[in-house]
Every structure is written in C-alpha cells, then in structure tokens.
C-alpha cells in the first residue's frame, strides 16, 4: 500500500493560530479527500498477471450434483461441510517440446481453500498453508507440475474448492504455463499480500513492546497501556497459525481471528485518552461491547455463528470505530495542529477508504476480485502511530534539553552572582570591621591620648622655654589624626585622603607664614580600587616629610602641591609634586636634610610601588611622587 504523502495544505506548514477554524477545517478535509482519492486510485491499479496465453479459462463445475460449464473467475455459495467441495475441471495443452522448462499451475486468488490435481494426481493442497487459509490475505498459490505427470497434448486440471465462509467461495483465473513465465507474478503477489503483512505485524509487535514498556514506566499514561493491548492483539492475530484440519485450540483460534473489533476498540480508546485526555465514563465501555460479544460467541457459540456475526457485527463496528476516531483526531488537529494528529488523521482516512472499498467489493457493488486491503492499509496507521510517538518523544527530549540548557545558564548566572555577592559581602565585612575598629580607636584616642596631648600643647605654650615640647605634642597629635584618617574607607579615591591632608598641611604651614599653593584640577587622581590604608599612610608620610623639610630647611615662603593625572602610553598615572622655592640642597651629599629622611621617603615610595624623584638646586626642592598604575597587595619591599 502506498504511504500517503502529506504534501498539500497544512502538511509542513507551521501552525497559524490566528486563522479562522472554518478555513482550517476546510483545509484539513480537502487534504483527507485528496488522500482518499489517491488511495482509490492505488486500489484500482491492476495487479501483475502472467501473459494471457497461459490462461485456462474454460472449466466445467460440478457443484451439489449439478454440472455446468463456467468461465473463471467464478463464485460458489458457502457450504456447511468441509468435505463438500466444488469441483472445477478444465484442460490445458502441453507439448513434449516444452519438457525442457518446468511447467506450473498458478492460482492468483481463491477463497477459501483448494486442492489441485493434474491428470488425477494431487499436486497442491492450500489448506496446509496457514497463510493461505486466512480470508483477509490474498495469498496466491503456485505448483510445479512434475514432468512425469504431463502428457503431450491435452492435460486435465482439476481444482477442488473448499469454502468455509463467511463469504462465498471464489476462484480467480487459473494459469498453466512455463514456471519462469508465471513465477514473477506469483512472487509479486506474495510480496504484497503475504510478506508485507508479516513485516507490518512484526512492526506491530515491536510497537506493542515499546508501548508496554512506556506504560510500565509511566502508569499515569493509560493511553499507552490501551494502545499496547491493541498492538498485542493485532500482532498475535497476525501470527496465528490457522490450519484448518487440526488447530491446537480451535475455539481460541476462532476467537482471536474475530478480535479485530476489540483491537479497533482499543485503538479508539487510545485516541480518546491521547487526544482529549479524558475518558467518557458513560459511553466509553460501549466501545468494547461488540468486541466482547464476538469473543463470547467465539468461546461459547458455533464457529459458523461466529463467522456470520463477525461479518454482520464486527466489520460495521470497525467502520464506526474508525469514524469516531477520525472525528476525534480531526478535532485535535484543528485545535493543536501538531504532527501526530495530522499523521494519524491521514492514516485513518487511508484505512477507511480501504474498508469502504472492501465492503463494496463483498457486496459486489464494484467488480469483486476478492482482494481485501483493510488489514494491509492498517499498516499505514501503525506507521503513523510509530512516527507520531517518535515525534512526541523527540519533542519531549528537545524540551528537556532546552530546559536543561536554560537551567544550566540560570545556574551559572546564579553562581556568578553568588560569587560576586560573596566577594562584595567579604569586602563590605572587611570595610565594616575596619570602620568599627577605627570608631572604637578614635573614641579611645579622643577621650584619652588626644585630650592629654592637647593639655601638653596648652601647658607648653604658657612657658616659652618648653616650645619644643609643644611642637612635639603637636606633631604627635598630627600623626594621630593621620593614622585615624587613613583608616577611613575612602573607596580607593586618594583625593579624599589628600583633601584632609591639605587641611592639616595648611594648619602646619600657617604659623610659619608659609603659603600652601594647592594645584589640583577636578577630578584629580584616578581611582585605585586596590588602595589600602597602609598605602595611604605611606603616601601621606612622604608628603608630610616633604612639607616638613620645606619648613625646616628651605626657608621658603611658599610650598606648591600639584596633583595631576599623566596620560602615558600604558594608561593613566597619578602624580603628586611638592615643590618649594627655597634654598635647595645637594641631593647626593650627606648634607641636610638628613639623608635618613630622604632614604625613608624613597623606601616608603618603593613599598607602595611608587617612584620618587627628588631634585634640588638653587631654585628650590622638588619632590615628585609618581603613583603606580596598581598598588601592590603586600609590601613591595620587606621591612
């Protein structure tokens, strides 16, 4: 059977939510009509036949005591007894010249069983071929006639036709000819009507296993369980041995052969559960009623009754089930426009078309060739179910992958955020601890040491001789303020530390009548996030030393502090310059200011990774402190 290609209309088109339902429905119905038309076209295609010159068409039929001459194909009525067969007798000619090639008799189609004799010798009994005994499979038969049986000239061909219903006996055209001329047609029919159904039955068996496993793992998905039952029924039925003479369990055999309505009921139940997601408690069980009745008849009734009721009850049930299923799947396709619904919808159309074809044939409304396609077309549905399930599975996997990827991204983001917030938290903890410590220290110093130093300053001022003590106490106070000040969190903005230092330096210079010329242009220096209090102390002490030198040794009237950011090839660098217009000194010599002081300044600068340049001449002294691009974490110079 041709797998209907779902090319037109909504086949591959993405779902369009805004489209009115009516147009969508029309599209869907048009597609189904196209498929049905294609199906009919395929069903009416002629089957392969050998050359007509090998046709044996004139037979005399001996049936129920009457003898008449017939032209095949011919029908004989159903009979009750297996021993009562219709006897067809015909002739074919064979010449001894044909002895080189094997001579065969080919029977494309018959119902239900035949025994073939050539010149009175039986050469074939189809009843021993279980495939041939199934009415739903158009099994052909071919028999090689032993050369010793053949006579030159006319040969007699006798066919006994056994009929066991439920439909009338049928014998299609018979061919007698060279084996190599007949066999290709036979092989093609075998492939189509014997091998293919077996292949699909195997596929149905695999589906049954897959669905059963799926249902076992996901008990809540009843739909899969129901479909697994349907597939199991179908697979068992397809592989059932149907020997007529001595079936092992005749009752069970007959019952299973009549299980098709039960199978179709299960498929319908699956459709309802899968596509509507709710089970109609009221009329749901009615789906299985015909199937159950047939099984009961099979188990307790006569085989003949079962055959008749299968024809009258079973086949229409199949039709009804298919119609309901088609409606459900169609509605689902209208609602969701997904691939499984579309595939199954098309497959149902194929099966329905085939069923209609077969019923019309049995009713002899269309030419009856006794070729039944329903079971074969059912494989389209199996393919659709398999494809639909795989599609759903792949879709679920994609969704899981997407979810997992999304989760991984979210997790990574959360991790980053957590890390950043942890680092921030640590930084804040550190700053808060420092601030608390500073506040405590400040309170202590303010209440104790600070007041006492102020008292010393005050006392020393009363007595002109103790001016040195006052200066020392003042210097101690200044240093105390520097230490407290540099412990403050300035967020890496060195300008904030320099601002307080400016106040202190100006206060220090004022009594000596030295002006502080502060040259800074906003924004001043770059921000150093890695700046720590100990860096600040070192820098401020260097500047203090430079200013103190200017006061003590230079005799200058003005100290200039310049703060600037220098643009260099490798980025911005801060630079602080303290210059006085005083006497100056020899940089390299041992003369004042003490070389120890200069060494100290250089040492402090090195520990901060800064560069200190000292130049002195008659024009005054300049201390130039070039800040590093990045302040070192630990002491750059130990000690």
């Amino acid at each position: 059977m041709t797998e209907a290609p779902a090319k037109p209309a909504g086949g591959g088109a993405p779902p369009l939510r805004g489209r009115p339902t009516a147009s969508r429905l029309a599209q869907y119905l048009l597609l189904q009509a196209l498929i049905a038309a294609l199906c009919i076209f395929v069903l009416r295609l002629p089957l392969p036949e050998p050359a007509s010159r090998y046709l044996v068409s004139d037979f005399s039929l001996a049936d129920r005591g009457e003898t008449r001459s017939v032209t095949l194909p011919d029908f004989v009525p159903t009979r009750a007894s297996m021993s009562d067969s219709a006897l067809f007798t015909g002739r074919f000619s064979w010449s001894a010249r044909d002895a080189g090639s094997g001579w065969s008799v080919y029977l494309p189609r018959f119902t239900n069983g035949i025994v073939m004799l050539v010149n009175g010798v039986e050469i074939l009994d189809s009843r021993r071929d279980s495939m041939a005994n199934r009415g739903d499979r158009a099994t052909p038969e071919i028999a090689l006639v032993p050369a010793s049986l053949l006579r030159d000239g006319e040969n007699e061909l006798t066919i006994r036709l056994f009929v066991w219903g439920p439909i009338s006996g049928f014998l299609d055209k018979v061919y007698a000819g060279p084996d190599d001329a007949l066999r290709p047609a036979y092989e093609q029919r075998t492939l189509l009507f014997v091998t293919l159904p077996v292949v699909f039955a195997a596929w149905q068996g695999i589906l049954a296993v897959i669905l059963a496993v799926m249902w076992a793992m996901r008990r809540s998905d009843t739909a899969y369980g129901v479909l697994a039952i349907a597939m199991t029924l179908g697979a068992v039925q397809a592989f059932l041995q149907t020997t007529i003479d001595q079936p092992a369990f005749p009752v069970l055999n007959a019952t299973l052969l009549a299980a098709a309505p039960l199978e179709s009921g299960c498929v319908l139940a699956f459709g309802i559960l899968f596509f509507t997601r709710k089970w109609p408690r009221l009329w749901g069980p009615l789906i299985f009623l015909p199937g159950v009745i047939l099984v009961l008849i099979g188990l307790f009734g006569e085989t003949e009754t079962l055959r008749q009721s299968f024809l009258l009850l079973g086949i229409p049930t199949l039709g009804v089930h298919l119609l309901v299923l088609a409606a459900i799947v169609g509605a689902s396709e209208m609602r969701r426009q997904d691939v499984p619904s579309l595939l199954l919808g098309c497959a149902i159309t194929i099966v329905m078309t085939s069923l209609a074809h077969d019923m019309l044939e049995v009713a002899k409304i269309i030419p009856d060739h006794r070729i039944f396609y329903t079971r074969l077309s059912y494989s389209a549905m199996l393919v659709a179910i398999g494809a639909g399930l795989t599609f759903r599975f792949a879709q679920a996997l994609n969704r899981v992958d997407g979810f997992a990827a999304h989760l991984a991204i979210q997790l990574r983001a959360a991790e980053e955020k957590l890390k950043a917030s942890f680092a921030r938290e640590q930084e804040r903890e550190r700053a808060a601890a420092l601030a608390r410590e500073r506040a405590r220290l400040m309170r202590d110093l303010h209440d104790g040491l600070g007041g006492q130093l102020v008292s010393i300053v005050a006392l020393s001022e009363r007595d002109k001789d103790s001016a040195g003590i006052g200066d020392a106490a003042r210097a101690a106070l200044k240093d105390l303020r520097l230490v407290i000040d540099s412990m403050d969190d300035i967020g890496g903005d060195l300008m904030l530390a320099l601002g307080s230092w400016r106040d202190r330096a100006a206060a220090q210079l004022r009594p000596h009548e030295i002006a502080l010329d502060w040259r800074a242009v906003p924004p001043g220096l770059p921000v150093y996030p890695e700046l720590r209090p100990w860096h600040v102390i070192q820098i401020i002490r260097i500047l203090d030393e430079a200013v103190t030198n200017a006061v003590k040794h230079a005799g200058a009237k003005r100290v200039t502090v310049s703060i600037e950011t220098l643009e260099s090839a490798d980025g911005e660098r801060g630079c602080i310059t303290v210059a006085d217009a005083g006497k100056g000194f020899a940089v390299e010599g041992d003369r004042r200011p003490s070389s120890r002081g200069v060494r100290n300044m250089k040492n402090r600068a090195a520990r901060c990774g800064a560069e200190l340049e000292l130049s002195s001449g008659s024009g005054g002294t300049t201390v130039r402190l070039q800040l590093p691009r990045r302040f070192p974490e630990g002491d750059a110079v130990a000690g």
Binding site: A432, L453, G499
Partner: protein, 225 residues
C-alpha cells in the same frame, strides 16, 4: 579658612567658651582674648547654662565631654532657645564622631583644641561673618553617607536625604581638597555662593526633634527598599 570678614569689630562679639580641661580652656580663652573677643568661660554644663541665662552670646564654643553632662544637650538647648547664636564644637582630634553628632543638633563647625591662636580667632570671625567652616574629613564623612550602602557605617546617625545633588557635589569637592574657587568653577557657579551652600548643608543635617529623626530614618529605609 580663607578671607576673614571684618564687618563686626571683635570687641562686640561675645563668646561663651565651655571647656573642662583647665590648660585647654586657658589656651583658647587666651587666644580669643588676645584677638579682642568678649569671652565668658564655663567649665561645666551648669555654669554654661547659668551664663547663657544671664547673657546671650554671639558665639558658643563648647567641648562635648563635660563633668556634669554632655555638650550635645547644651548645643540643642541653645539652638532652640537662641537661634541667633552661632555654635561650634571644640574637638581634640576633629573626628567625625564628635563633630557630626554636634552638627546634627545644631553646631555649624568645629575648632581643634590644638589649633594655633591665630587660626582660632580667624575661625570664630569667619563664623560670625556667615562662613561656616567645613573640613575635608567632615565633608568626606557626609558624602560617604550619601552613597547607597546596605548597612549604615558605624558612627553617629546622619540623615543626608535632604541634600541636593549640587550640595553633594560641593561636599565632594571639599572632601577632595579643592578650593572653593575650583569647586565653583567646576560646577559652573559663583565662588561667593559656596559658603551659603555649606551653611545650608549644616542646616539640612540638623535633626530638630527625636520624632523627626525616627520618621526620616524610616522614610530613608523605605526609599532604600
């Protein structure tokens, strides 16, 4: 500070000096006396209250740690009762702990206890002329408080919600050591208006009642949320 205004003769400026450490009191009084101010002195809170009841000084200079109480209470009372009196706190270290708590009750500056006599006189004169001094470290403390942070840094409570962006910019400039002229130039304003802004900053940092302080804290908390 910078230029000192000389509109009011020093003799007419009455100063009440409250300081419990005798050498320090003597030192400050000496500096102010020599500059020509009319100085009254008190060593305790009680003496200071008695002096304030007898005479309204133009300027009040007070230490915070006093033997019979806290200078903050004296500042608050004076601010409420004598709105024309300028108030300054005397601090050993000029630390924000002392200065900010004084500012929030109405002080508009501080003098270091070890400041040179000339500086002490100049500061008082500037204050009377309407120039509230503000040091870089105090400005720094205030602007650091204007920055959003999860938990308030330790130290005195300070509500900076009322400060305008311009005032905060000025405080940043002072904290970084820029002169009034540089700040004014950078912010595109007149140099003369800077002292007015600083006075306004002091007034905005003042908390008038305890209830208001709580209300504003809650409001700030809500804003942060």
């Amino acid at each position: 500070m910078t230029a000192s205004a000389e509109q009011v003769p020093a003799q007419q400026i009455t100063v009440l000096l409250v300081e419990d450490d005798p050498p320090t009191l003597w030192r400050l009084q000496d500096a102010l006396d020599k500059a020509g101010f009319d100085v009254a002195a008190a060593a305790t809170l009680a003496e200071a209250r008695a002096s304030l009841a007898a005479r309204t000084p133009r300027v009040l200079l007070t230490d915070l740690q006093l033997p019979d109480g806290h200078g903050v209470d004296l500042i608050r009372e004076t601010r409420a009762r004598l709105p024309d009196t300028e108030i300054m706190v005397i601090s050993a270290l000029g630390d924000e702990q002392t200065v900010i708590s004084a500012i929030t009750v109405g002080a508009t500056g501080y003098i270091l206890k070890d400041a040179f006599p000339s500086d002490i006189a100049a500061t008082v004169r500037d204050l009377v002329a309407g120039h509230s001094p503000i040091s870089a470290s105090i400005a720094r403390f205030i602007v650091r408080r204007t920055q959003a942070s999860a938990e308030p840094p330790p130290g005195p409570e300070l509500n900076t919600a009322k400060l305008t962006p311009r005032e905060i910019d000025i405080l940043w400039g002072i904290a970084k050591g820029f002169s009034y002229a540089e700040i004014a130039d950078h912010l595109g304003m007149s140099k003369q208006t800077v002292p007015g802004h600083i006075k306004s900053i002091y007034r905005k940092l003042e908390v008038h009642t305890r209830g208001e302080a709580v209300f504003e804290a809650v409001q700030q908390g809500l804003i942060k949320l």
